[in-house]
């Protein structure tokens, strides 16, 4: 019954720390997903652009970020951001002390940039499967570009992109485990700290696994109902 004691709330156990770390994981994941979706709007526009240079920038982004290990992306961004900020501070203000950037921000940005590369591919793919004819039909009844985009394209892109974005979400959620290397205390980091100080690694890594499973299961259930909603008119009802 040792593990109940270890995982209890309060001063003696690590339960409350693990729950707090879970909140951090959720917050980083949501922030990263939002940053990723925001980035993917530009990524999609770039990759579908007629301009060769802009298209090359979009392609470079998705190829590089998807082509190297995520841990490496996180290290590069973590040290890259720090170095960049420090050298800017140095050259502009002559400030040469070490600057510690808010670690949550760096973590969310790093995972967001990874997540954005995958979202870009998903959304670009979804744009390409919306039948051209439906866009032409919208134009033929006088819809302007904005209406075509907002009333016809977006609802259908969402429908086609949702399953893929669900995958990206799960990926993003799990990628946040890698940002323990930056020192942000999320589930993985907390499990690491707790197992180190209690010599019960299995208990804590197992509880971390269960926490991740709870999060991913809950989100795939939410995603299923979102997909059902977005797929109205596709699978439902047979006349």
């Amino acid at each position: 019954m040792e593990f109940i004691h270890l995982l209890s709330l309060g001063d003696q156990g690590w339960g409350d720390e693990m729950l707090r770390a879970t909140m951090v994981t959720i917050m980083v994941s949501i922030s990263a997903m939002c940053i990723g979706l925001f980035v993917s709007i530009f990524g999609t526009i770039a990759k579908l652009s007629k301009n060769r240079l802009i298209r090359a920038i979009g392609n470079t982004y998705t190829t590089v970020v998807r082509g190297i290990p995520e841990l490496l992306v996180i290290y590069l961004l973590y040290f890259g951001f720090n170095n960049a900020v420090m050298s800017i501070a140095n050259s502009l203000f002559g400030y040469n002390q070490y600057i510690e950037l808010p670690v949550f921000l760096i973590a969310a940005l790093a995972v967001g940039i990874i997540s954005g590369a995958y979202s870009t591919e998903v959304i670009r793919g979804a744009f390409l499967v919306v039948p051209r004819g439906q866009i032409e039909a919208a134009k033929s009844v006088g819809m302007n570009k904005f209406l075509v985009f907002y009333r016809v394209l977006i609802p259908q892109v969402l429908r086609y992109a949702l399953p893929g974005l669900g995958n990206v979400w799960q990926l993003t959620l799990k990628d946040t485990a890698l940002i323990m290397v930056t020192g942000l205390v999320e589930i993985m980091r907390q499990a690491h700290i707790a197992s180190g100080s209690t010599y019960s690694p299995f208990t804590f890594y197992m509880s971390a696994a269960i926490l991740y499973l709870v999060l991913t299961t809950a989100s795939s259930m939410a995603l299923n109902s979102a997909e059902n909603w977005a797929n109205k008119g596709v699978k439902r009802e047979k006349a």
Partner: protein, 256 residues
């Protein structure tokens, strides 16, 4: 009486392929013009140039005697000078497509009331009332709340016709409206089109249905390799074709 549609010296090419090589055509109000010709003759492209789904390389289009003004973009390619004019004129030229192109994420009724509400800013209740009337007219009002995917091709095409009528167009463009349909479903769509012709609507119809053209068209235009090879009243064109190509085309399309 004002001219509903006038096309002058229209040309269009895709890359090195000249699809339309200079076509002029006039439709008066109430005309039903059927455009026939073998595939690749440029029929659909001509129709799509009228409402600028394809941008013509040169030539002019007037709708209700209003010229669609064109200009050139930075790359030197022709493009509309005023997109607002194009959007406005398109509601005067509603189009019915070969593949129906209903919006699959909207119900039948939502498809019909979409443009009246969002483009023409008609009140929602008005649009719904009119929408039901139009769906009744094409005989599909009891399916109003269903999604297009649960309808047969013929039913979908009738909804598409109702959607086109909903913007109150002066001219209806039909791009091979029965070519994607199973043979037993062609009749129901043609019946709706015939009743529209009887109402005196101006229609430009690209079609392979020679029976329909013979019965309904006030004018038949035969295209061959991007040019008008022969045109005239339906009776003339079908009963005493002059050009050799039209004779061959009719011989291979009229049986059955």
């Amino acid at each position: 009486m004002i001219t509903a549609l006038k096309i002058k010296n229209l040309t269009k090419s895709f890359g090195s392929l000249d699809v339309i090589k200079g076509i002029s055509l006039t439709a008066n109000q109430g005309d039903v013009i059927c455009i026939i010709g073998s595939s690749g003759s440029g029929k659909s492209t001509l129709l799509r140039c009228i409402n600028l789904l394809e941008t013509p390389d040169s030539g002019d289009v007037w709708v209700n005697e209003e010229l669609i003004s064109m200009t050139k973009n930075k790359a030197g390619d022709p493009c509309p000078a005023d997109y607002k004019q194009v959007d406005r004129i398109r509601t005067k030229l509603a189009m019915v497509f070969q593949d129906f192109n209903l919006w699959t994420h909207m119900t039948v009724l939502q498809n019909v009331i979409e443009s009246p509400i969002h483009v023409q800013k008609i009140s929602k209740q008005n649009a719904i009332d009119r929408g039901y009337d139009l769906l009744k007219k094409v005989g599909i009002n009891e399916k109003a709340e269903q999604y297009p995917s649960s309808l047969s091709g013929g039913q979908q095409q009738r909804v598409a016709i109702a959607r086109a009528l909903a913007v109150n167009p002066d001219i209806l463009l039909f791009d091979e409206p029965t070519s994607s349909l199973d043979p037993e479903l062609v009749g129901e769509v043609l019946r709706v089109m015939k009743s529209l012709a009887k109402e005196g609507r101006t229609m430009i119809v690209v079609t392979h249905e020679m029976g329909f053209a013979k019965e309904v068209a006030s004018k038949v235009v035969f295209l061959h390799e991007g040019l008008i090879e022969e045109q005239g009243e339906a009776k003339e064109v079908f009963n005493s074709p002059k050009s050799e190509r039209l004779k061959q085309f009719l011989a291979s399309n009229l049986e059955g």
